[in-house]
């Protein structure tokens, strides 16, 4: 579904990615983990089109999309959930999702009001993520966990083929974390997921396959058990985190 080939990214003198090659199959659930500074955020930003790689290539469903802009990737079925919420703060939850739903049809309808079908879809999605009761609340009035739910709803509203999630459980309480994890776990199996995460419980629970990054390179890749057993990974990363 999505693959990168020898992806490199430099920032001035700093090499954030030193040749990352990975392939995520359609319908797969992949987690990308690694210590701080490993390059996860850089990789994520390249995959979403907000950053251009200094070298290497990215292919989406077989098509070379290296250097393509975020909106072009979105039109090709890529949706993302940001680590720090990117919401429309003064708009209600429903209006937020409605904007997302309306993206597919395009905005150039200057005289017609948004279709009621769009609003119905928005309500359905809010229901799906558990925000049905809060649909008339402005985004900035929602709790942190609710905002994350809304963030997820926005991504799902695009009916994506590939969903990139950047630390979906960031800053959440254990209860909220469980809820979001369940939500993500219950998503359609046909949807390809790539999750960047720190929370190991969530990772081991949701991921079918894990890629471990360290200093801009892939140092291990495999099933959760394989990765858990990998000595290098343990040294570099899990050894510090194991609870």
């Amino acid at each position: 579904m999505i693959e990168t080939r020898d992806l490199r990214r430099d920032f001035g003198g700093i090499r954030a990615l030193a040749g990352v090659t990975l392939t995520v199959a359609e319908g797969e659930r992949r987690a990308i983990i690694g210590p701080n500074g490993a390059g996860k955020t850089t990789l994520f930003n390249i995959l979403t089109g907000e950053l251009e790689p200094t070298g290497g290539a990215v292919r989406l469903a077989g098509e070379d999309v290296t250097g393509r802009r975020p909106h072009e990737l979105a039109r090709r079925g890529l949706a993302r959930m940001y680590q720090r919420n990117e919401l429309f703060e003064p708009l209600t939850a429903r209006e937020n999702v409605a904007l997302a739903v309306g993206a597919a049809a395009g905005p150039y309808r200057p005289f017609t009001a948004p279709r009621s079908s769009e609003r119905a879809s928005a309500d359905e999605l809010l229901e799906r993520v558990g925000l049905a009761g809060r649909r008339s609340a402005p985004a900035r009035a929602l709790s942190h966990g609710e905002r994350r739910q809304l963030e997820l709803a926005l991504a799902l509203a695009q009916r994506p083929r590939l969903l990139l999630l950047d630390e979906p459980t960031a800053g959440m309480s254990p209860g909220e974390t469980t809820r979001i994890a369940e939500l993500i776990g219950s998503l359609d199996r046909a949807l390809t997921l790539v999750i960047v995460e720190h929370d190991m419980d969530v990772v081991f629970r949701l991921a079918e396959k894990i890629t471990v990054l360290h200093e801009g390179r892939v140092i291990a890749e495999g099933t959760p058990d394989e990765v858990r057993g990998d000595t290098q990974v343990n040294e570099v990363y899990l050894g510090k985190v194991v609870a």
């Binding site: 909106h71 039109r75 990117e86």
Partner: protein, 318 residues
């Protein structure tokens, strides 16, 4: 249902506005109030068009007069060169010229954001000013273009303070209705999304650059209509109509009145024109007053008069 009711409620003040010269004839035979009101409406059209950028899309343009003046010159020149005072022709020329200008400027300007966008629009508008200043054959240069013909349309002649006022009032109401429709539409919602979180809009698949450009051109076209009306009303177009002062006038109107609303730019335009036209008969330092009022609003009432009213209303409800 709600729109039908709103329409009904709006009809009365609208009719009152259009017929103003008639029922005011007794107490202001000099037509002073009519002229002032007319110019307020023209500035309001200009300010409303600017607010499409500033308030709806979040693009602070400081060069909007380029399109206002462009439309004014277009209407004037077409009327003279083609010896044809037809209103449809004049307005079509105004819209065409201002939209084209907006497209050219916009192609550059929308690639910048925030303060930089502001600077670029200011600079490009000055370029239009320079061209207007130099092209003396076409525009009259620093002397301006005088003797603009009053328009006619389908047998109606708009020469005279009352018919001209009614023309301006009708166009104003049409523009208001148009913008009201646009604000409630999918496009209008998309512009709001653009203002609130451009990054998220891109992530959702909206081509934000194109969206900004479309708003820029639409706003430019409406400004052009305002400019044409100004040319017809004053029978004169000068380089001031494309100058920084005019752009600032509209910006101040929008901010003082309240951005992102329909009432705001209209209220702001009324206030600004009052300070600029009515006040100077009593005091000599009207521009200073305007500057001070603007500063006060930026500091203390950023959401303008509309914002103040909303705050007071909200507080009263509690």
């Amino acid at each position: 249902m709600r729109s039908a009711l709103a329409l009904l409620v709006a009809v009365v003040p609208a009719a009152a506005l259009v017929t103003f010269p008639m029922w005011s004839a007794d107490w202001e035979s000099s037509r002073y109030a009519t002229t002032i009101l007319r110019d307020m409406l023209i500035l309001a059209i200009f300010a409303l068009s600017l607010d499409l950028l500033v308030g709806s899309a979040g693009l602070p343009s400081l060069g909007h007069a380029a399109f206002f003046g462009g439309g004014a010159y277009a209407a004037a020149v077409v009327g003279q060169r083609l010896q044809n005072a037809d209103l449809a022709l004049g307005l079509a020329a105004a819209v065409a010229v201002s939209a084209l200008l907006a497209l050219v400027v916009g192609l550059f300007a929308v690639r910048a954001a925030g303060i930089f966008f502001l600077m670029l629009t200011l600079a490009f508008a000055q370029m239009v000013f320079a061209v207007a200043f130099q092209a003396t054959d076409l525009t009259g240069g620093s002397n301006g273009f005088s003797g603009v013909r009053r328009p006619t349309f389908l047998g109606l002649d708009f020469n005279g303070p009352e018919p001209l006022f009614q023309l301006v009032a009708c166009v104003f109401l049409l523009v208001l209705a148009l913008l009201w429709r646009v604000r409630g539409s999918t496009y209008g919602r998309a512009l709001v999304g653009l203002r609130e979180n451009e990054r998220r809009m891109r992530a959702l698949g909206y081509d934000t650059t194109r969206l900004k450009l479309s708003a820029f051109v639409l706003a430019g076209a409406i400004a052009g209509v305002g400019g044409a009306l100004s040319a017809y009303a004053l029978r004169f177009v000068s380089t001031n109509d494309v100058g920084v002062g005019r752009s600032i006038e509209a910006f101040v109107s929008v901010l003082i009145g309240g951005t992102g609303t329909l009432a705001g730019p209209v209220i702001g335009a009324a206030m600004v024109l009052y300070i600029e036209r009515v006040l100077p008969s009593s005091i000599p330092f009207a521009e200073t007053v305007l500057g001070v009022v603007f500063i006060v609003f930026v500091l203390a009432a950023r959401q303008g008069v509309v914002g103040l009213v909303r705050t007071v209303y909200a507080r009263a409800r509690r």
